[in-house]
């Protein structure tokens, strides 16, 4: 059982949450983006082995979205941070950036 620290409700079991995919994917302007750029936005994800920035929502609790850094190898949730803020540094985070 993975426990996730909801920024509002505190530590809750993973089953109370909904996973929202990779974080920090900006929607390009459809008027100025070509098909390849749009396909990249829709389908291409980083899928790293290691630290991954992702979105979570506390579905059975406060129903608020937040971002998390999770290590995809150990399944440890390293950091929780608000949506709309830049990706923070995490210990052993080699991917960097967003």
């Amino acid at each position: 059982m993975l426990w996730i620290d909801c920024p509002w409700c505190g530590a809750r079991p993973e089953t109370e949450f909904r996973y929202g995919g990779e974080a920090h994917i900006a929607r390009p302007d459809p008027a100025t983006t070509d098909d390849a750029g749009w396909a990249d936005y829709l389908f291409m994800r980083s899928n790293p082995k290691g630290v991954h920035a992702e979105r979570w929502m506390h579905r059975e609790g406060c129903r608020r979205w937040f971002n998390a850094l999770r290590d995809t190898v150990s399944n440890d949730v390293l950091t929780i941070y608000p949506m709309g803020t830049a990706r923070p540094d995490a210990p052993g985070d080699e991917a960097g950036g967003g």
């Binding site: 509002w8 409700c9 505190g10 809750r12 079991p13 089953t15 059975e60 609790g61 406060c62």
Partner: protein, 197 residues
């Protein structure tokens, strides 16, 4: 609120089973009919929070996982940083809603009557905690979960609002109508081992 036929509880069909349940150390009953108002306010709008608190007779809890009870018996349950469930007596309902709406007029808010969306199950007694622990992953030990604690979580896979009201301990479980029969049946089964021999 327009005149309407008296609401029928979704748990009406289980009335006999609930009334006849006898267990040592724990009692179960359907909670009284309640008015439930979902209130959303801008958490930075201190004036609106104060105004709502003045109408309700107590301040809206700002600490997650807590509830407050006002002088007139209305419970204010924390649901989110900008969201509360106001539960009062069935009679207080329409007036409470009108007063709140009038007081918050012109302010950014949302006030929704959700009375008919939920059923309430009251579980009480020294063994109530043991019964809940069979289906709830949260720490319900008194050091972590005391009177006034109020969480939204899953109980036996049903999404509930679990509110501890006193030291007995007594819990008020607010659950969606569509899950209420399932949850009440599950609770009756969970209590069965405490039936007198």
């Amino acid at each position: 609120m327009a005149e309407a036929a008296a609401p029928r509880s979704p748990l009406a069909g289980l009335g006999k089973a609930l009334a006849e349940m006898r267990a040592d150390g724990v009692t179960i009953a359907e909670g009284p009919a309640r008015t439930r108002l979902n209130l959303r306010l801008d958490q930075k709008d201190v004036e609106a929070l104060t105004a709502a608190g003045a109408v309700l007779g107590g301040s809206l809890p700002r600490t997650p996982n807590t509830a407050a009870t006002t002088v007139n018996g209305t419970a204010l349950l924390w649901l989110g940083p900008d969201e509360w469930l106001v539960t009062g007596s069935a009679e207080a309902g329409a007036q409470l809603e009108d007063t709140l709406r009038a007081r918050l007029d012109g302010r950014h808010h949302a006030l929704t009557d959700v009375s008919a969306m939920y059923a309430t199950i009251a579980l009480s007694g020294p063994l109530a905690r043991e019964v809940l622990m069979k289906g709830c992953r949260l720490d319900l030990h008194p050091r972590a979960f005391a009177p006034g604690a109020c969480v939204q979580t899953s109980l036996a896979k049903a999404n509930v609002i679990l509110h501890q009201t006193d030291d007995a301990p007594s819990y008020e479980i607010t659950v969606r109508n569509s899950f209420s029969v399932y949850l009440a049946t599950w609770l009756l089964d969970a209590m069965a081992e405490h039936r007198p021999a």
